[in-house]
């Protein structure tokens, strides 16, 4: 299974000499690191298939969003500095999450408002950051994958990926190339699932109401599988679907695109 890449999509590539394989630092995200390493390996596979050299800097933890969104700029900034340092020297920084990529790409600069050189460094870092599927399609020019999955899926647009990074048609385009997979759109795929980071535990009753609406539209889509590009949202929706007794499988979009669906789906037990 190799990704079919089109060359010439990279802005830093010269017309004469074929560029060396882009060196990508994988920002694995804390949730994938802790809960679902298989998503990280799927991301690596997709990028390596597309001709990238992928490395995983050890000095990464979290993008800092929990601190940033809790009003704790000091810790958010310290974590940002650490992350920027860890990814120095890479051509690209790629995360299998629109939310974390959004944080790295759209919010790091403003953490250094009072320090022009640091702000510039943050801006240079942010310019290299991409969400995984957007990186594959928008940067590498990947138009399809050679994965196979027999069944139907519905795709949820996670909020940050959609509204901060404009990710919507890219995953659908790649999913359309998965052999055997039928995409069944749910109603309002762009409506929030109610996760919202710490929101879901700070306001559990409201979060529950929102995710209830979401799982209803997921079930109504008639799809056998739910996909999205953010593990936080996926864990929220999977947790609700499982609590409701639904048999719908929940997976990160990268798993299906990489053809790596041998692991149990999110919230499912290992067979045997």
């Amino acid at each position: 299974m190799t990704a079919t890449a089109q060359t010439g999509a990279q802005p830093n590539e010269t017309a004469q000499a074929p560029a060396a394989a882009p060196r990508v630092g994988l920002f694995v995200t804390c949730l994938v690191d802790l809960f679902r390493p298989s998503v990280g390996f799927a991301a690596v596979k997709l990028m390596e298939d597309a001709g990238c050299l992928v490395e995983v800097p050890a000095a990464q933890t979290c993008c800092g969003q929990p601190a940033f969104n809790s009003g704790d700029r000091k810790d958010a900034r310290a974590i940002a500095e650490q992350t920027i340092r860890a990814f120095e020297g890479y051509d690209y920084v790629v995360a299998p999450s629109g939310s974390c990529a959004g944080m790295l790409k759209k919010h790091y600069e403003e953490l250094f408002d009072d320090d022009a050189p640091a702000r510039e460094r943050a801006a240079a870092f942010s310019a290299k950051v991409f969400e995984l599927v957007s990186f594959l399609t928008d940067v590498l020019g990947v138009t399809g994958v050679e994965a196979r999955f027999q069944g139907s899926a519905t795709y949820h647009d996670s909020c940050s990926g959609l509204r901060e990074l404009g990710i919507s048609r890219q995953p659908r385009k790649l999913l359309a190339s998965v052999e055997g997979l039928e995409l069944k759109e749910m109603r309002d795929p762009d409506v929030c699932c109610g996760f919202g980071g710490t929101f879901c535990v700070k306001y559990p009753d409201i979060s529950n109401k929102i995710v209830e609406e979401k799982t209803r539209t997921i079930r109504e889509s008639g799809a056998g599988m739910l996909l999205a590009g953010d593990l936080g949202c996926l864990m929220n929706m999977a947790g609700k679907l499982k609590r409701e007794g639904s048999a719908i499988e929940v997976r990160h979009v990268a798993e299906v695109l990489a053809g790596m669906t041998d692991q149990p789906a999110i919230g499912e037990k290992r067979q045997g």
């Binding site: 994938v32 802790l34 390493p37 974590i79 409506v191 929102i210």
Partner: protein
């Protein structure tokens, strides 16, 4: 009005359990959103107009003092009177004084959120002046003794059958056996009842969507025509508006009007756009004899030059709440004061203090849908975050959340320690959860597991697995190349 924002969580719980409210909120979720999307899509220059609208208001806010002075001069030149009110109390006093001077017993009112903000109705009632709301939604909630739950659809939380019951309860002079099945019959009944009130009223009070500096005009947009009857029929017209409603020219107004109704209800224009400039002139067939403008600050000038200044661009279209999943879940009353939804989550702390309304900017998933539809491009999530920063710096958020965050940040800033610890923790959690693949209960995770299962980790962190896999690969390659050399 009584502030219940500190009890936001209890309010929300109550709202979630309120079946009629939940039924009514279903209409917000469907109706407004599609209509706005259709209207925006039908206008190729819509996005450009949003930029223009933002720029117009930014320009005004940068020169607000000059425009306010210019506006006031024009109002006076047209024969009107301008009253400056620094606080809500000042505004109430000024309006009551006008009522007393005119010997007013009844005032009719056009729909106005500003008069909600200053608690005008209760105040007038206390001083023996009867306010009569003439907007249908406002009229309904006045009968019910409630406050608006939405800034443009004040009775959006009320279902038709409830309105019918209220009308039967209050309109006792009408035939008790009359048929009120159709919404239009309810509308007709309200119209007939209100018609008399317009003629009885001594003063008409309206808000303003815009105050035009170049002409000294106030502008209201309505769909029912009630605003026109309110401001034209009584002998005195009082406009109550906050200072950021200023727009330089009529040309600027026309630009912002093109995004206002489309964002609000999906109409190209509201049914009525009414411009008032001063009292009735000699030769005018109708109009009030006196024209007053009460310009309210009430904390707004203190927002200028701060990270919340952009909020003053708001034109009160309601698009943010129409698209907000939290508003859809709990409705407007849960927010506990005048302004609900995302715009309320930013504005309320500015006006009544973040100590009282700290929940509001926190009760957001930051999904960003509000900002994506705001015609004035107000960065609502960003400003909610600024309120969270203020709360954090003053230790206003709960101690458990603070300590939890501090503990997490301690480890997140120490990658080696973090990875050692998470490897152990996730290994253990993965083992415990492996049997079912998820937890239906986990200590300290009650906020999560009350309503949903927690998917179990696969076991072992990515970092640990990666180090192992790539370490082995590297070793493998080294040994391969070593053996290759040996055989050569």
């Amino acid at each position: 009005m009584q502030i219940t924002s500190p009890q936001f969580k209890a309010n929300a719980r109550h709202a979630l359990d309120d079946a009629p409210l939940q039924r009514a909120l279903g209409h917000v979720r469907s109706g407004f959103i599609t209509k706005r999307a259709t209207a925006a899509a039908a206008l190729p220059e819509f996005e450009q107009l949003r930029d223009n609208a933002r720029d117009i208001k930014d320009h005004v806010l940068a020169h607000l003092d000059l425009y306010l002075e210019a506006y006031a001069e024009k109002v006076e030149a047209a024969g009107g009177t301008v009253h400056w009110a620094e606080t809500a109390e000042d505004a109430r006093r000024i309006i009551l004084d006008i009522c007393r001077k005119r010997g007013a017993r009844t005032v009719t009112k056009g729909k106005s959120m500003i008069t909600e903000e200053i608690g005008l109705n209760a105040f007038l009632d206390e001083h023996s002046v009867a306010p009569v709301e003439t907007d249908l939604g406002e009229y309904i909630i006045q009968l019910r003794g409630e406050h608006p739950s939405h800034i443009i659809a004040p009775a959006v939380h009320v279902n038709k059958d409830q309105v019918e019951a209220d009308f039967r309860r209050v309109h006792t002079h009408l035939d008790p056996n009359r048929n009120l099945e159709e919404p239009t019959t309810l509308l007709g009944e309200a119209r007939a009842v209100l018609r008399d009130k317009y003629f009885q009223a001594d003063i008409g009070i309206t808000g303003a969507n815009f105050l035009v500096a170049e002409t000294g005009s106030s502008i209201i947009v309505t769909n029912e025509g009630n605003g026109d009857l309110t401001q034209i029929l009584p002998k005195t017209h009082v406009v109550v508006a906050s200072i950021e409603k200023i727009v330089p020219t009529l040309e600027d107004v026309s630009q912002i009007l093109r995004v206002l109704a489309r964002s609000a209800t999906g109409q190209d224009m509201s049914v009525y756009t009414t411009v008032s400039t001063g009292p009735k002139r000699a030769g005018d067939p109708d109009g009030p004899e006196e024209y007053h403008v009460v310009l309210l600050d009430n904390g707004r000038s203190a927002m200028l030059g701060t990270e919340f200044q952009d909020m003053l661009r708001c034109i009160r279209c309601g698009a943010c709440m129409n698209h907000c999943p939290v508003y859809h879940a709990v409705g407007g009353h849960a927010y506990g004061w005048v302004y609900p939804g995302p715009m309320g989550a930013v504005l309320t702390p500015s006006l009544i203090g973040v100590d009282q309304s700290g929940h509001l900017p926190n009760a957001s998933t930051f999904c960003g849908r509000c900002e994506s539809v705001c015609p004035m491009r107000i960065p609502l999530p960003k400003m909610m975050r600024h309120w969270r920063e203020r709360e954090f710096s003053r230790n206003l958020n709960p101690a458990t959340a603070r300590y939890g965050l501090a503990l997490w940040a301690f480890f997140a800033k120490r990658p080696a320690l973090y990875q050692g610890l998470t490897r152990l923790a996730m290994g253990a959690l993965g083992l415990i959860g492996r049997g079912r693949g998820r937890f239906s209960f986990l200590p300290l995770a009650g906020g999560w597991t009350r309503h949903r299962d927690l998917p179990a980790p696969q076991g072992g962190t990515f970092q640990a697995q990666w180090a192992k896999a790539r370490g082995a690969k590297a070793k493998d390659m080294r040994s391969k190349s070593a053996s290759g050399r040996a055989s050569a």
